[in-house]
Symmetry: D4
Subunit: 248 residues, 8 copies
Amino acid sequence: MDQRQLRKLLEQVKSGEVEVGAALDRMRNLPFEDLGFAKLDHHRALRHGMPEVVFGKGKTAEQVAKLAEHLLSESRNILITRADPAMAESVRERVPDAEYFPLSGAMRVWRDKTVTGKGTIAVISAGTSDIPVAEEAKVTAEVMGNRVDAIFDIGVAGIHRLMSNRDRITAARVVVVCAGMEGALPSVVGGLVSAPVIAVPTSVGYGASFNGLAALLGMLNSCASNVTVVNIDNGFGAAYVASLINRL
Amino acid sequence: MDQRQLRKLLEQVKSGEVEVGAALDRMRNLPFEDLGFAKLDHHRALRHGMPEVVFGKGKTAEQVAKLAEHLLSESRNILITRADPAMAESVRERVPDAEYFPLSGAMRVWRDKTVTGKGTIAVISAGTSDIPVAEEAKVTAEVMGNRVDAIFDIGVAGIHRLMSNRDRITAARVVVVCAGMEGALPSVVGGLVSAPVIAVPTSVGYGASFNGLAALLGMLNSCASNVTVVNIDNGFGAAYVASLINRL
Amino acid sequence: MDQRQLRKLLEQVKSGEVEVGAALDRMRNLPFEDLGFAKLDHHRALRHGMPEVVFGKGKTAEQVAKLAEHLLSESRNILITRADPAMAESVRERVPDAEYFPLSGAMRVWRDKTVTGKGTIAVISAGTSDIPVAEEAKVTAEVMGNRVDAIFDIGVAGIHRLMSNRDRITAARVVVVCAGMEGALPSVVGGLVSAPVIAVPTSVGYGASFNGLAALLGMLNSCASNVTVVNIDNGFGAAYVASLINRL
Amino acid sequence: MDQRQLRKLLEQVKSGEVEVGAALDRMRNLPFEDLGFAKLDHHRALRHGMPEVVFGKGKTAEQVAKLAEHLLSESRNILITRADPAMAESVRERVPDAEYFPLSGAMRVWRDKTVTGKGTIAVISAGTSDIPVAEEAKVTAEVMGNRVDAIFDIGVAGIHRLMSNRDRITAARVVVVCAGMEGALPSVVGGLVSAPVIAVPTSVGYGASFNGLAALLGMLNSCASNVTVVNIDNGFGAAYVASLINRL
Amino acid sequence: MDQRQLRKLLEQVKSGEVEVGAALDRMRNLPFEDLGFAKLDHHRALRHGMPEVVFGKGKTAEQVAKLAEHLLSESRNILITRADPAMAESVRERVPDAEYFPLSGAMRVWRDKTVTGKGTIAVISAGTSDIPVAEEAKVTAEVMGNRVDAIFDIGVAGIHRLMSNRDRITAARVVVVCAGMEGALPSVVGGLVSAPVIAVPTSVGYGASFNGLAALLGMLNSCASNVTVVNIDNGFGAAYVASLINRL
Amino acid sequence: MDQRQLRKLLEQVKSGEVEVGAALDRMRNLPFEDLGFAKLDHHRALRHGMPEVVFGKGKTAEQVAKLAEHLLSESRNILITRADPAMAESVRERVPDAEYFPLSGAMRVWRDKTVTGKGTIAVISAGTSDIPVAEEAKVTAEVMGNRVDAIFDIGVAGIHRLMSNRDRITAARVVVVCAGMEGALPSVVGGLVSAPVIAVPTSVGYGASFNGLAALLGMLNSCASNVTVVNIDNGFGAAYVASLINRL
Amino acid sequence: MDQRQLRKLLEQVKSGEVEVGAALDRMRNLPFEDLGFAKLDHHRALRHGMPEVVFGKGKTAEQVAKLAEHLLSESRNILITRADPAMAESVRERVPDAEYFPLSGAMRVWRDKTVTGKGTIAVISAGTSDIPVAEEAKVTAEVMGNRVDAIFDIGVAGIHRLMSNRDRITAARVVVVCAGMEGALPSVVGGLVSAPVIAVPTSVGYGASFNGLAALLGMLNSCASNVTVVNIDNGFGAAYVASLINRL
Amino acid sequence: MDQRQLRKLLEQVKSGEVEVGAALDRMRNLPFEDLGFAKLDHHRALRHGMPEVVFGKGKTAEQVAKLAEHLLSESRNILITRADPAMAESVRERVPDAEYFPLSGAMRVWRDKTVTGKGTIAVISAGTSDIPVAEEAKVTAEVMGNRVDAIFDIGVAGIHRLMSNRDRITAARVVVVCAGMEGALPSVVGGLVSAPVIAVPTSVGYGASFNGLAALLGMLNSCASNVTVVNIDNGFGAAYVASLINRL
């Protein structure tokens, strides 16, 4: 029962066609959504004001391509994450202006380039191996309407590289920092800026990095108070939250 | 060597009193901070625009009290976290207007009640046992200049309590959610609002909660994209980042 | 707005006092609960048909006692778990017929002894040290209206003790098995009976038992298909689910 | 020595053909099973009243096919879990009416469609990636004689989808909930219904999901009291226990 | 129903007093133990030929003392492990010849000093802090009828101390090695002797020893093929198995 | 400097050719082994009285074949573990009487079939999937001169199968038990027999079995005192120790 | 702005071309590095005096080859770690004198063979399977200007092999010890020498070695005080630090 | 048999009193140490050239005091670690010039202040809470004959503090860095200096620091190549190795 049906029911109550008690009974058993109360819930993308996102992993190339096409009927921008080359090819056959970023597997259709973010989002990566995760963050933040300043390969063991880029980093309204191994970069960056820092541990490393666990724990224990953390390799999530913050 | 000294050196170069080569040498060996480049680093509180914070744990009551007194000479508001009753008493002898919150051990001097945050920060806790952590977040957010809407004891197993408070939650500009046990509340809240959600796992629980690990992992794996996470029981950190966001 | 208010609104619609459009608007913004849809949610105890339960740990003796008294105004039976002796004394001052079980810290007021469970619940413990957890399960199952057959101290290293009690175990409609150390008993019991077996790992053990982790993992990997698992030391939870099943 | 042999021995004792002492000796050394005491143990399927189940993984296609054929000589329904496509083909050559479910690798021969379960089993999955595990649960529950209501893709971050299906869920006699990532769905479902909820953590996720560990811990720490848990990805086990409960 | 009763039943069959069918029915429902088949199971101590053992931890001083007294009515030697000083005092009041070993909390009554072990059991400890565990092993092995050669404080970082004692170690028929920290001693000892080596990880250490986990993992991964492992701090278990082996 | 050289030195001392002081100096700096003190160490196989063993994994087929050929020049029996089919083929080209066991990858040359073990070693496996590990144990124990009684596929969930084989198990002098999943079988077997039980956790299972960790922890926490444990999947190690014990 | 530019600025100040205030402003905003203060930071290889190192893993063969060629324009020696055969081939096409070590994937150009280390670095490995890691350490130490004494395959279970090599080990100025499984060798070596010992856990092993975790924990808990530890399989890092120490 | 006895034996050989063959036999069976070969092993302190060290924890105040007195009869300097105040008092009664450092529990007698280290050891701590561990390192390094430059409280979140002290840090010959929480400081320091850096994770932190595990993993995964790691809180061990290096 949707809004229209509820309106009809109320009109039947008004006209006396349906008794108050019977109306109450029918309302009590309605699925939540149909009452319209949940409408905002339903259209999550609309509510958050973000383009629709497809998580590619675990779907077939065909499914992803169809989904992309379908979403583009309602939305000018879409983002596909964790897409493999076969998916990319399949999408491009139907959507020729889709961009594919093979390092991260990110894919986007970016037709509406309106900038809705109020400042710049800095996306920083510690090492060259962290770039795939940082790329996912950059691609996401851009398609969600942000100016992005990508500063790659500035690790804590060469602190001067970080220092040389201090002006760019402090100019950002939100900072996303991707780092594997010991995951120390967000703490150092957090100490340099007053903006919120979103830390993304990456699964880069070997041995006692335990696929990103070392970096994750490091970031959760950051001695800088302006750092929050997302899941390992979750460049998308970090950029998503950064976009929300950058619109405020 | 501070700015003044550097100016003097440059004037000596100008007057010919110091040779260019000698000036170069002296500059090369200066401590970083003295050049003034690091000044912003030095005054971290100033830079972030936050009151000074003292982490009470591991200090003596005497140390905490002296530190509080000292900081109050430069700052109207201060926050002390993880203070035990002895510290509280010791601080109050010197600073009678200090408030103590025994559940969380938070303590604050809140003389400047100017509101600098642009919206409301909702602080939500899942169960009554999570209240100490939520209280730390609330006390922190308030003393940092935010309006706080505290909504305690709304767990996911009684989803109606959450639903009844949906309006208050969606009205917030940033949401802090404290939850122990399975840590599911931030995911549900994240799905209801479009604001950034900062999740605080608490060490509440027993057995396979492993002192907050279960809640932490749950939050890191949240299926809601607008959730970031801080350390277990770190109500302070969550409120600190929420304050930064709320000022934007 | 509760049922009564909703009825009034509908009557106002009927009488023409309130326009359909205005009624729709008011309904759309109602807190969920007030519509009565969530009523069952609100009264969880009623819905599950169980007595109210108080989790004692982390509350003061005073709080527990007041809560107990309050709940008894609406319910004939109540259960308090993880109560320490001070809580027990405090409760008994107000509620003299409250029983206290010091091994497990369980406490109950059992005024309505109607049996609602259709069969017997067998509560089995592997070793004498598992008895506190088993006692919590037994006390819970009884106050929730079940006949309980408690069979303590039958471990897998003395399989004959288990065999000697096979008739009692197979006679049960649901079986709760509490075991620490290697947690092997539920698998063996699961192979003997066709009833659902609810396994409770206990934190009994030392060294590589890691406070019940070994037992927990053992039970999750049970080779018997009729075994499900609850949290470490959660005798209450096991008995609660067993009670739900026994009413079917 | 089976029942028949034991009877014969007793008759020999009766007729004096065998001395009491000699009979005692022979009985003392009999294998347990031959006395008939263990008969119920032997025919586990019979005892639990379930069709025979073959765990495909680790067997050859040939072995699985032969086993299937053999079991069908005594049973009208059989279930094969974790079968790869080669096994499926091999089984179908011999048993053309075997159904294969490639997502989960489940396979069944469902000749006797008698419904023995008294109510409906709801099988719920949180995300599309959890469907393979949910499918295994659904296929299992059906072949074991239950009406199944499958409700897929209702995660906690879109709580309205759950709410829209509340009637279907509360109508079930037992609920199986499959969820990966943070594993929060069983807690929310547990709060909505009074039926027993069997939670299945899935290995869906990445990074800090640690192949299902995050979901597993979340479910074990559920704040809803009517939740029990099975092993990661164990859709079969959950449906098996649900079937036992549904027959009560 | 024990052997005697079974004999009586058979005699009743023989005399025609009981029908064969009725006898079969009664036998089918007998508890396992009563048939005498499980008798050996019942008297585990007898079967293993070991003195009775009481695990003190978690019992009251009174319980332990009574249990000790009771067991001494049937057995000349008994062992109590993990006894605190209060238990020790309580036992001694009733059993004046009980010895108490405060380092390990072991306690024994050793009235029958017959040596049943065929060779010597060497009990080795790596550091002085491992001595409590080694003492438990030594006390256990002695009261179970073995000659024990205790060689304490020979760690791998001072390999010469080990070498100096090589003759004593190689003379043993079974070797028990207790070591905390890195747990390397059993590997080195295993390479020196051809006897079975039973390794006992101890919880000695700090930091990354994780209460004995480091030692446990080290021992399980021993490059010496003649090493098996028991639980952390389980000096008793190691000595128990060593005693079984030494009797062969 | 070997024995011969040392003898020569002593003779030079005797003849006065070398001074006592100079002889002392030279001896002080000798490599340990050359003095002959370490001779027993050097010939480990000889010392333990076991055939030589080659760990195949990580070597080339060529290396394994050459090594096998070389060892056969000094030993009649050899054992190769974890050999893949290519290694097997390569070895057989040079050593046609080598047997290969593809389930476990074990390979042996068994020319001297003298039985040196005094009793039987029972090798038990819990499920069909544990057979590869059990096979490695069986092949090892046989080639090391033991009579082996292999009893496969008797899990704890069908306790009657265990009971039916009790006579065979209790007849063994040492028992090796291989089990994955919950690893409960060694505890049950340990309670039935008085022989030492060597438990081998296998990596069989999925989800929360964590590649054998669940079984390993279960076995380390066994409530049966006669159980010791070796590394996950280490069938060889268990049989090796069992062989040592069986020779005593 | 580099040194040259800074000099020019100072000269402009001197000549009056630039005002002191303006000069201060420009200096304050300079990137850190350009001031020359960070020069040492920039040229890390120069500063540490080490040849440049390329971490091959995750790069393409083409990238590695180009990078190698580029670095050789400034440095006579270079090291590539974790290179696969394709990289090796690609590098050799451009740099024919590059050596490739397939076991470890190490690759080096070693044109300047000057020895800068003051003593010998002993590189020890416990088993043959640890040789790849030890090889990486050896190749690294050599190309960094050290005499290396490689002593492979001396495990703790055959202590005599270690003893036979004691002179060579004690002759070293720094010792690198690579060991998997229980990781006990560094403790034993640490007890024999007074030089610093750098322990490298290797991922060699199976089951409870957990890919090197057991060895890592063992080494961190070493009872020898002269042992420090690097990451699992990090032969390069150990040799790098050993080289730094050997130059002192 | 010690050196003296061996000399006597050789003299008996020389005099013909003992036959060469008999001498060989006696030597072959000598305990290793007695031959004098192990002398260096025996006197570990002497060999490493370090003062004797007593690990206080787990000993009685009396034992520690006696041990201290005893060691001072042979050594001018001694170090006691992890001493509680009672031990300190007890030692001082006998050794009035013993210094006690209550933060770390370190205690030393420092009579011989000869500096044997060739350069300075910098001991750095990240936060005030890490000072106890840093103090242990400082006290150890000093009593072992080193000049120590202690630089406390320079965390990575305030990078300027580190930069201001860069000259002092780069002047050191070895650097010890103590850090808890995320353990990032050693990586940053490692990037600034070319000296070996010994990282000490501390157990400072809460929640996901897991008592130092986060810092430990962070340090093991350091992106700076000149970092090695010791156990959590092991300030002593770090200083010990630093002392060895500083003497080279």
